[in-house]
């Protein structure tokens, strides 16, 4: 029992999420020996992938030398619990999961989907990476981002505030602003 508890305590999960659609290039990249090896070197023990509607099925495996255990599922009504229990999050570039992760203060690597037609999503990831709130990667360079990263050097994200918008709306409509 004691041994199992110890192992459970040392579990360090990497949660990978592709959002509501699919992002096979990301799932495939995570499933490569290079990425798994880098994650293992950084001390992560488990990889859990939310793969959405993707066609590429990663290979389930248990932890072995040089590679973390890997598991996956398609969808979940809420990824909040997975984010909370993760030690590292690797996410698609959607603003929803980016800010949910940042608010939880979890280290985050955002992988930009280069196959999307109108790729405005990289704008946000790159801006937040410049401000050192997260790391921004492409599927091909993910292993390098992991090997170079230092989660301790990330700057905690201060959540924004909708009050300035509310005040401008009040002022415009003639409501008193207090």
């Amino acid at each position: 029992m004691g041994d199992i508890d110890d192992i459970a305590k040392e579990k360090r999960v990497v949660f990978v999420t592709v959002g509501t659609t699919s992002f096979d290039a990301l799932v495939r990249a995570v499933d490569t020996p290079e990425v798994k090896n880098e994650l293992f070197k950084k001390g992560y023990t488990d990889i859990l992938i939310q793969m959405g509607r993707g066609l590429y099925i990663p290979t389930k495996s248990t932890a072995e030398n040089g590679s973390p255990a890997l598991d996956y599922f398609t969808f979940s009504s809420s990824i909040a619990d997975y984010l909370k229990s993760a030690s590292l999050v690797i996410s698609h570039a959607g603003s929803g999961s980016i800010f949910e992760t940042l608010r939880l203060g979890k280290p985050l690597i955002v992988v930009v989907n280069e196959d999307l037609m109108d790729n405005h999503q990289s704008e946000l990831a790159e801006e937040l990476a410049e401000r050192k709130h997260l790391y921004c990667a492409r599927p091909q360079t993910l292993y390098k981002t992991i090997s170079d990263m230092d989660p301790g050097s990330l700057v905690p994200y201060q959540p924004g505030d909708a009050k300035p918008v509310a005040e401008l709306i009040y002022r415009y409509l003639g409501f008193p602003v207090d």
Binding site: S95, E123, L124, G160, K163, L168, Y170, Y172, L173, G174
Partner: protein, 233 residues
């Protein structure tokens, strides 16, 4: 003689028709210029008691940003509230329900006001062919018009994506024809750092939004009429 008289009368009536057309167009142009100018300034009426408000929920990250705004707004100033989401988006209205329930937990029902939830057809789904999208666009416009006639909101809050465009265009036309004056507020998504989205750009360029808010300073530099408000998320 008779033939000549007929000629003169048709010429006269066509002249009248041309004059009438010119007159109507002039009135509409003056009306549009007036509306655009009026929209630049705050509505200096005495503090209104409450305004009926249409909230267009965009899905995913858009809905999350809109809810962050709703959580700080004094909802007794914006009632009743009508929520519209795309027919294919089943999460957003649920989230609006959760928000409304949270209000009822805090304040009296008469303070909170009534909330209604509606779905709207989208003009084009991702991947739909352009030929069939002509038909679906017409259906979507008719549906938007029907909803707007029913709601006739005084305030419209939207933040993209395209779902809000037909509703905003109809609201603008209501202003032009004197049917209803509604103030349109558009919050550009936080995901837009360097360029406005297509919806944002349309509302900005056509002067249709009374106020357009952006969340990054880079956008304010590029689009000076926009208001920089910092991040909502």
């Amino acid at each position: 003689m008779e033939k000549g008289g007929f000629c003169i009368s048709t010429m006269a009536s066509s002249n009248i028709a041309i004059l009438l057309t010119i007159g109507v167009i002039t009135v509409l142009v003056i009306q549009i210029i007036y509306i655009i100018n009026r929209s630049r300034k705050p509505l200096h009426s005495k503090s209104p008691r409450s305004l009926s408000t249409l909230i267009v929920l965009g899905s995913g990250g858009h809905t999350a940003e809109m809810l962050n705004l709703l959580y700080v707004l004094q909802t007794e100033r914006f009632k009743p509230r009508y929520y519209i989401a795309a027919a294919t988006d089943n999460m957003s209205l649920q989230k609006a329900h959760v928000f409304e329930d949270s209000l009822l937990g805090k304040e009296a029902p008469e303070e909170v006001g009534r909330a209604e939830y509606m779905q709207i057809y989208r003009s084009r789904e991702v991947g739909q062919s352009y030929i069939t999208s002509v038909g679906t666009t017409l259906v979507a416009i008719a549906h938007a018009l029907w909803l707007m006639i029913k709601i006739r909101p005084q305030v419209i809050l939207c933040n993209g994506p395209g779902t809000c465009i037909p509703l905003c265009v109809i609201a603008f036309l209501f202003k032009v024809f004197g049917i209803r004056w509604s103030s349109i507020f558009y919050v550009e998504s936080i995901a837009r750092v360097r360029k406005l989205s297509l919806s944002g750009l349309l509302l900005y360029k056509l002067h249709m939004a009374d106020q357009l808010f952006v969340q990054w300073p880079q956008l304010k530099e590029k689009y000076p009429r926009a208001h920089y408000v910092g991040r909502l998320m």
